[in-house]
């Protein structure tokens, strides 16, 4: 077997694969944040909690109702999305006329409440979610072993990201959304229901978080804190990619996952901070982010 810079290929590809998995979560989560920020101008700090809700949703479906993973993939994201719609209608909506900071504070507070609630009832030790049979095996690709569960996460995230990109960039609904992001007043003056569009967009962004949560359930333990840990990194990803850029979020998410994986191979000590270092560098050179429009 050949070696790269003294690194066995099994290790290298293993870490790259891990990086891609993390990148999948970064991409789906930062995509949701970007969509929400674009139209609502709110940094949705509840996003991590909503990701956690997705994982718990899958866990509850399985343990309380006996509904399995493959159903959960389709059922849970819309349910989490609806909880987002309720939040938007009842609370977030009231803050649009105020400074962005208030939206940030509200969603941050909501996250604390939701996570606290789950901690109270489920503890912090983490609940196991058995992977469905289809996801237990794997393939030997020769240079590495590819577990099905991992392959599925990457493929499912890619599909969801591309579908989201397609809806936003190529459909009429997406044109409404892009236009309302630029000039909501004018879009309203065309007779389009912008408040409804805003609500649905928030619900959609939140559903993306819920979807990521379902994907995470069989891979990571289902834990009230799972979102809080991840979301900090995702915010860094969003800052690097540029707030509000759809394709930027997707590419940056996967790209940074890979970079993180490579760092783990070549300089393991740096893997926890590499994304933040990149963030600092990008902010110095291009404050609007790699794909962001400067405001």
């Amino acid at each position: 077997m050949f070696e790269l810079l003294g690194i066995p290929p099994q290790v290298l590809f293993g870490q790259l694969l891990l990086g891609l998995i993390n990148g999948s979560f970064y991409a789906v989560l930062s995509l949701g944040l970007a969509v929400i920020f674009g139209l609502l101008n709110i940094i949705n700090f509840t996003h991590g909690a909503q990701y956690m809700l997705g994982a718990f949703g899958a866990w509850m479906l399985l343990n309380y109702l006996g509904v399995g993973y493959w159903w959960a993939v389709f059922i849970v994201p819309p349910i989490v999305g609806v909880t987002g719609i309720v939040l938007e209608r009842v609370m977030i909506r009231r803050l649009y006329h105020l400074d962005h900071l208030y939206g940030l504070l509200l969603t941050f507070g909501l996250a604390l409440i939701i996570v606290g609630f789950f901690r109270q009832f489920f503890g912090v030790s983490g609940l196991p979610y058995p992977p469905p049979p289809l996801l237990t095996g794997g393939y030997n690709l020769g240079f590495m072993y590819l577990p099905n569960s991992r392959a599925w996460v990457i493929v499912a995230s890619l599909i969801v990201c591309l579908a989201t990109w397609f809806i936003i960039e190529k459909t009429r609904l997406g044109a409404y959304l892009r236009a309302a992001t630029e000039n909501p007043t004018m879009v309203g003056a065309f007779g389009i229901n912008v408040p409804l569009l805003v609500t649905l967009t928030y619900g959609f962004g939140v559903a993306l978080a819920g979807f990521a949560g379902v994907l995470a359930a069989p891979i990571y333990a289902v834990n009230p804190n799972m979102g809080a840990d991840l979301i900090i990194v995702v915010f860094a990803v969003v800052v690097i990619g540029g707030m509000g850029s759809i394709l930027g979020s997707i590419l940056t998410g996967f790209g940074l996952g890979l970079i993180e994986g490579l760092t783990r191979v070549f300089y393991p000590e740096g893997s926890a901070v590499v994304i933040f270092v990149i963030m600092a560098l990008v902010l110095l050179v291009k404050p609007a982010g790699l794909f962001g429009r400067s405001v």
């Binding site: 009429r172 044109a175 409404y176 892009r178 236009a179 992001t181 630029e182 000039n183 007043t185 004018m186 879009v187 309203g188 003056a189 065309f190 007779g191 389009i192 229901n193 912008v194």
Partner: protein, 266 residues
């Protein structure tokens, strides 16, 4: 004074048979006596705390073209915004087709059949020309087809896949007007459509407005250039400090030219 060349006959009439010259000539001059499609009465408007409109009143009959003339800062744009419902605070009365709209959100006002082409054109940079053109949803039957819009503005057809804001200023103006012709709106609010455009484009816009009038559109046109306004309008309202201070029928324009110069400070 600029003149528009005679309106080119289109191969296909835009709606119904085209009017003959005789019919055009014998049509009664529209005046305030035509059924008012839009009636603005004592309209007040604010930007935050600053009170900008102090009781604007005017009427537009169905099928008429009227202009709002006035100096910079007189309140013309604000009046159109208030009629469209996008001024955050307004009071008084705006009736469209007999229905009071002063309490309605802009979305519902648009759906009644009023469309707005803003001074800054508001072409969306994240949308292609085609997406910009197709963005406003159809609110009523009877709008122009896309083909008819291309007949009015052939430039647009060449540039459909360009980014909206990559168009020239004149083309952006054509797009901003063109996109509201599709929707079936009967009343068009056009804010300075000729601002900053080359004379040949100004002429094209002028011909277009005259065409739209022939098609039965009702138009409120904000203009600084009353030589342009004189060629298309039935009546002129002079706006000053948030009020309409005078009304001049177009046929009496020549007699009032000195007064108008004084109003506009030209």
């Amino acid at each position: 004074m600029l003149r528009f060349p005679k309106i080119r006959a289109l191969s296909k009439p835009i709606s119904g048979p085209a009017m003959s010259e005789v019919e055009l000539a014998s049509r009664p001059a529209a005046g305030p006596s035509a059924r008012p499609l839009l009636r603005v009465d004592g309209l007040q408007g604010w930007y935050g705390e600053s009170h900008v409109l102090h009781g604007v009143s005017f009427e537009v009959g169905e099928g008429e073209v009227v202009t709002l003339l006035g100096r910079n800062g007189a309140g013309k744009t604000t009046t159109l915004k208030a009629v469209m419902g996008i001024l955050s605070r307004r009071s008084g009365s705006v009736t469209y087709d007999g229905r009071e709209t002063i309490k309605l959100p802009s979305r519902l006002i648009a759906q009644m059949g009023i469309a707005y082409c803003p001074e800054e054109r508001a072409i969306f940079s994240s949308l292609s020309v085609e997406e910009n053109l197709m963005l406003p949803p159809q609110v009523r039957p009877g709008g122009l087809t896309v083909e008819q819009i291309f007949e009015l503005f052939p430039n647009l057809k060449e540039r459909l896949s360009s980014q909206g804001t990559k168009l020239s200023g004149g083309e952006q103006q054509m797009l901003a007007i063109g996109r509201i012709l599709r929707t079936g709106a009967k009343l068009l609010l056009l804010d300075e459509p000729t601002e900053g455009l080359a004379p040949v484009i100004v002429q094209q816009i002028g011909r277009t407005i005259a065409r739209l009038k022939d098609e039965g559109f009702t138009i409120v046109l904000v203009e600084q250039n009353f030589h342009f306004a004189a060629l298309v309008a039935d009546r002129h309202y002079v706006v000053e400090q948030g009020r309409v201070i005078d009304t001049i029928p177009n046929r009496e324009l020549d007699a009032n030219i000195d007064k108008l110069h004084a109003y506009l400070g030209v």
